[in-house]
């Protein structure tokens, strides 16, 4: 399949070099930790060595006496924040719990939970001061899994959490979602094949290479500025304001270049503390997490337990599904289990459906968004079951998906029927790929496919397009550029204004310099911010038309703008390009700034289908990925290279999730793999080249057809790998990671069963 066709477009669909590229390859781009200011102090945090404990006392006296130490803050220095639910990107955030996560108030709820923050003249002194803080704990039993947390009599993490379904009793279950359709009992009765399995997926981290960071500068007039790497400067501002108990207008957030986020940088950890320490010391204060702190205390995504029963008729129609799922929220409510429940069978039309989903608090770090939050765990379960059903029906797994797949008009789990979507097209792209058609006949090699769904998000974005006096332009947005979105914004602007792409400078502005813009997340930047940019460019064009009319002494409606030129319709008045018109702006009324703000509707859901070949070492259980192809519906690929990049990156993360990555806690609830040697993300040697097929089924809700491409590619790989392992060695894996010991155990079990069988036959 062609990588991308750019149809009638001049700029869209081409692959220019990103505008911010040079700064990044010469080492000049400024990431959060690269900021420093005269007189700046350095901060470090004291973190809990226990998974679950009551704090009896904190004594900072000795630490404060250490020369170079300027201030120490604890949970007592934070006001009690309001107990309410607020949407921040794809995850709901409750400021009350957020504040307790930033600094423990009276209990520590996970290994690594922050207790105090120190500011000192050097990071080393701050670190030594942290060791001098004395905390007395009453250690409580750790509750590490959803099973343990949901058991009657389990230790309770949060005493204000109550079970409204069971007489307002104390509970670790923060929420129960239920989705029903049709009659599952009747559905299963008419099924010819029923498959039922239980799946367990391990907690995993987003694994961005840049640790969290913040520099806070508090001014004596009560205004403060935060420099930090974040996916959402406006969210940092509003969340920090709530935690600090100050109005939003007192804070300004300057987004630094960001070193990866994948959802993990849509919330706050250090930001309000940098301001508080700056307020106490009168100096700028910089806080940077270590890698161990990132793993122990920033939000990973949920481990989960999912039980699925699914039935199909002999002719390959999925007829019923009953699903029970529980996700680890971490120490505070808010796992993505609701999203997981709505995604788990989203690619298929299933008449009879019953889903129960539970959000469960456990003594682990509070989870944060991670690329299509909740959907990957869910697909590991459902897409493995679907593979098994296809096998039982004797139908090719891709055909089975196409037969049951959703298309325009199919019902969603919640909400109105799907508009135009490209699920079937992603299946067909894989089916037609050279990869899927190739033969794979070597022993211990196998092929697996799986599909994934993600909603994508709209939300609020603002943009301004400034026309410069030489006819070039700048496009200003509030969307952190996490993977090349500046280039996409410049390309949309250039396309509309008829300019070369390098005549448009894309800018990511701070919270005082652009209208409110929600997070870079939910695959929403090219969709929603792109929509704002599109409208801002149209606004600039409308204004330019008026100026052209003034120059020509015509009415604005007599002026046409086509292919980058203003046309008068009068042969005596030759067409004008923006370059010419821009010279006349001062004399025709002044500069031109196109503006737009949107709360974007018309979100186009995303689908991906992935094919993975693996080789299993039957003696060690090690899995090597040999070949991988991912097909994804982008709606419209603005910059195909960065679309491919999202597809490849998400796939790589999904493969890491499948094979290696997991949070490993000991029986006391202490995280034992706090470094990147033991939290094992894929390296260059673990992966093949990742082939991509960009599918473009335009989103009817976007002027350019854009859907957004950031997330869905992470969803299929774990199930695709599990299905490939089954194809290779005949064992069904129901746990992630499918690491060598786990797979070897299953291989040996199967071998023992086969031996027993042949012995019995003898």
């Amino acid at each position: 399949m062609a990588a991308s066709s750019n149809g009638n477009f001049r700029v869209i669909g081409t692959r220019p070099i990103r505008h911010d590229g040079i700064e990044k390859v010469v080492g000049r781009a400024k990431y959060g930790a690269d900021y420093s200011f005269p007189g700046m102090l350095h901060g470090k945090l004291l973190r809990s060595p226990h998974a679950h404990a009551r704090i009896k006392s904190i004594n900072v006296e000795k630490a404060l006496k250490l020369p170079g130490v300027k201030a120490i803050v604890t949970g007592k220095d934070l006001p009690r924040a309001e107990n309410k639910i607020e949407q921040a990107g794809e995850m709901a955030i409750n400021p009350y719990y957020l504040s307790m996560n930033i600094l423990a108030h009276d209990k520590v709820l996970y290994d690594g939970h922050a207790i105090a923050a120190v500011a000192a003249t050097s990071p080393h002194i701050a670190e030594e001061a942290v060791r001098l803080i004395e905390v007395e704990y009453e250690v409580l039993p750790p509750v590490m899994t959803v099973d343990a947390a949901m058991k009657p009599g389990a230790a309770i993490l949060l005493h204000d959490l109550r079970n409204k379904e069971e007489g307002n009793k104390e509970t670790n279950v923060a929420q129960h979602h239920q989705f029903k359709r049709g009659d599952v009992e009747a559905g299963f009765k008419s099924a010819d094949f029923i498959v039922e399995r239980e799946f367990n997926t391990a907690m995993v981290h987003q694994g961005y290479i840049e640790p969290h960071n913040a520099v806070g500068i508090y001014n004596n007039d009560g205004q403060a500025t935060i420099y930090c790497s974040t996916q959402g400067a406006f969210d940092v501002r509003s969340l920090s304001a709530q935690v600090l108990g100050v109005p939003v207008g007192k804070l300004k957030v300057v987004p630094a270049e960001i070193g990866g986020g994948f959802g993990g940088k849509t919330t706050i950890y250090l930001e309000p503390l940098s301001v508080l320490l700056s307020q106490k010391t009168g100096a700028p204060v910089k806080l940077v997490m270590s890698r161990a702190e990132v793993l122990r205390a920033s939000g990973p995504t949920s481990g989960s337990k999912i039980k699925i029963k699914m039935g199909a008729t002999r002719d390959g129609k999925i007829i019923a599904a009953q699903i029970w799922m529980a996700y680890e929220a971490g120490a505070f409510p808010g796992s993505p289990v609701g999203a997981g429940a709505m995604c788990i069978i989203a690619p298929y039309t299933i008449e009879n459906l019953h889903i129960d989903a539970y959000d469960v608090v456990v003594n682990r770090p509070k989870t944060a968004a991670y690329r299509a939050p909740g959907a990957t765990n869910a697909a590991m379960a459902s897409e493995t079951i679907i593979d098994e059903l296809a096998d039982k029906c004797g139908i090719d797994p891709i055909d089975f998906r196409i037969m049951n797949g959703v298309k325009e008009g199919s019902p969603q789990v919640v909400g109105p029927p799907f508009k135009r979507i490209g699920f079937i097209e992603t299946c067909e792209a894989i089916k037609n790929s050279e990869h899927y058609k190739s033969k794979l006949e070597v022993p211990f090699r196998g092929r697996g496919v799986a599909s994934g769904f993600w909603f994508n998000a709209g939300m609020q974005s603002s943009a301004t397009v400034n026309i410069h006096t030489d006819g070039t332009a700048s496009v200003v947005t509030g969307s952190t550029d996490i993977g090349g979105s500046r280039a996409a914004m410049a390309m949309i602007t250039a396309e509309l204004l008829g300019l070369p792409v390098n005549d448009v400078r894309p800018v990511v502005a701070d919270t005082d310099s652009i209208g409110h813009t929600d997070v870079t997340g939910g695959s929403r930047v090219t969709f929603a911010t792109g929509m704002a940019v599109y409208e801002a460019a149209q606004d600039a064009i409308a204004q330019l038309k008026k100026r052209a009319a003034m120059v020509w002494e015509l009415k604005p409606e007599q002026v046409e703008f086509r292919d980058g030129e203003f046309l008068s319709g009068d042969p005596s008045k030759p067409p004008m390009k923006i370059k010419e018109l821009s010279k006349r702006l001062a004399r025709t009324g002044g500069p031109i700034t196109g503006r737009a703000s949107v709360n974007a509707r018309g979100v186009g859901p995303a689908f991906a289908t992935t094919c993975i070949d693996v080789e299993v070492d039957p003696d060690t259980g090690k899995v090597q990925v040999l070949r991988c192809t991912v097909a994804q519906d982008a709606g419209r690929a603005i910059h195909p290279s960065y679309v491919e990049g999202q597809m490849q990156g998400g796939t790589a993360q999904g493969i890491g999730w499948a094979l290696n990555e997991e949070y490993f806690y000991d029986d006391k609830g202490i995280l034992r793999n706090t470094g990147l040697l033991d939290y094992r993300m894929p390296t260059c040697l673990d992966l093949p080249l990742i082939e991509t097929a960009i599918v473009e089924v335009p989103n009817p809700g976007h002027p350019l057809g854009v859907r957004g491409v950031g997330e869905v590619s992470i969803v299929p790989p774990p199930a695709a790998v599990a299905n490939a392992i089954y194809d290779a060695v005949g064992v069904r894996m129901t746990e992630t990671p499918m690491s060598p010991p786990k797979l070897l155990k299953e291989i040996l079990k199967k071998r023992a069963a086969e031996n027993a069988q042949s012995a019995a036959a003898d």
Partner: protein, 178 residues
């Protein structure tokens, strides 16, 4: 030594380190416990080398030390004494990007870009000793650098392409010279 309320300050004596960074002679003061990475970033304001882990696992801080790729977080600042250090800031010539930098841009090999300086330096160390590596050799040489954004596909392609360009440039200049 500074004292406050009778508690000794933990500041240790600084050493003067005499080294070469990006072709220029450089002298700097550093504490014995400071890593080369910390000296580069916080003392010399060369923030192009990034800190991702401080344990030598991610490679974002990779620099060349006497031509060899090292994690500058695992090297002490004082070990730079008498050495020749090249950081990402020293990769480009005055007016021209290094072929690796150019190919990383053309192949869209960076998304967030935080790992890019480390990858560029590891790749340079590879191409300096092996101008015609296979895909496997490129992957092996870059296995100490983690990238979480790209899945490595476009990085590997850029390094192979840069190697080709460098070979062609060298062959062309050799032909012109003969």
């Amino acid at each position: 030594m500074a004292q406050k309320n009778g508690v000794k300050a933990p500041i240790s004596r600084k050493s003067l380190v005499d080294t070469t960074i990006n072709g220029e002679p450089v002298e700097f003061l550093c504490e014995p416990r400071q890593s080369l990475l910390e000296c580069l970033r916080d003392v010399l304001e060369l923030t192009g080398s990034k800190e991702g882990c401080l344990t030598g696992d991610c490679g974002a801080c990779t620099v060349l030390m006497d031509g060899r790729a090292v994690c500058s977080c695992l090297v002490l600042g004082v070990e730079a004494q008498g050495k020749n250090i090249v950081t990402v800031e020293g990769l480009a010539e005055t007016t021209r990007l290094h072929a690796l930098q150019q190919k990383f841009l053309e192949h869209a090999s960076l998304q967030c870009g935080i790992c890019t300086p480390g990858f560029l330096m590891s790749a340079k160390a590879l191409l300096d000793r092996n101008p015609d590596p296979t895909e496997r050799e490129v992957r092996y040489a870059l296995a100490g650098n983690l990238c979480r954004c790209t899945g490595y596909d476009k990085i590997v392609r850029a390094v192979l392409d840069a190697a080709k360009t460098l070979r062609e440039t060298r062959d062309a200049s050799a032909a012109a010279g003969s």
